[in-house]
Amino acid sequence: MKILIERPKKEIEIEFNGKVKDLLIKLDINSEEVIIAKNKEIITLEDDVSNEDEIEILSVVSGG
């Protein structure tokens, strides 16, 4: 699965099948601080994602 993280900006590739909330735990990201988009559509913590998906993790914390 290809993941684009907005802050700190990076792109990673990992093996993952399961719920978004478990993906965030795996990446050690607090769910309060991000929203997740799949193909430019927002999905929830309870939705499933798989290896074929391209995911964007957007930061909700303001920058200044």
């Binding site: 309060e32 929203i35 559509e41 999905i43 929830t44 930061s59 303001s62």
Partner: protein, 288 residues
Amino acid sequence: MKCSKCSNNAVFTNPTLCKEHFIEYFETKVKDTIKQNNMIQKQEKVCVAASGGKDSITTLYLLHKFGYNVEALAVDEGIEGYRDHTLAFLKDFCEEKGIILHIKSYQEEVGKRLDTVVPKGRPACNICGTFRRHLLNKYTQDYDKIATGHNLDDESQAVLMNLLKAQINLFARQGPKTKQIKGFTQKIKPLYLMKEKEIMTYSYIKGFNTPYNECPYAKDSYRAHVRDLLNSIESKNPGTKINLINKYLSIREGFSQDKEIRFCEVCNSPCSSQICKACRLKKQVKAV
């Protein structure tokens, strides 16, 4: 996951709603916050303190959408590679929506850009914030209210910080609407009860595309600790932030605004001493 009100896919949990129902929920809640706190009367002139970030853009967009008489005021601190981007976005946004935008810069007002006064990586928020508050108040004297984009996250962090630092006297200054004090334009916070995550979701659905970039100056690291702490408690115990705010609001009336207000001998701004902090800092900055 499905929306709790229809069969479409949800974009948010707690409350679990699809795009359309989330927008409805969000806008209704902001409208109710404005009404319940008696924030704006229809004939009043409101100035939104706008930075071009998602919070102030959402505030501006909604007040305009709700039909209030609203203009925007932005402060250009002069921070290369940061404010330049957000201001460019703000200009386009206001032009598209037909909202009048005023921009005041430190260069014009103080004589220097922030990035020529403070080297990158050094803390700048104290002087930056002092000048910003000073300019916002100075240039909103003809308005009835200043609206800011402060949200539930900002406000619950502030309450917790005041508790941790035992600065209980600051309690009187916070809340969804500041008290009426001579010389100060009254401040309102329409997004007071909205979580940062909700605002981000709303802006994303609305396609605001506010540029994400971070101020290059060293931030208030204490606030960052408090934010991380609150977020980690909230994700395990949802409702922590709003409970903290509700508790605070229930005792807020017991705290009174501290010192007597005086007026600065140099610029006549309201302050607590002979010369206001902005004028004192201005003098130091000129000497740099």
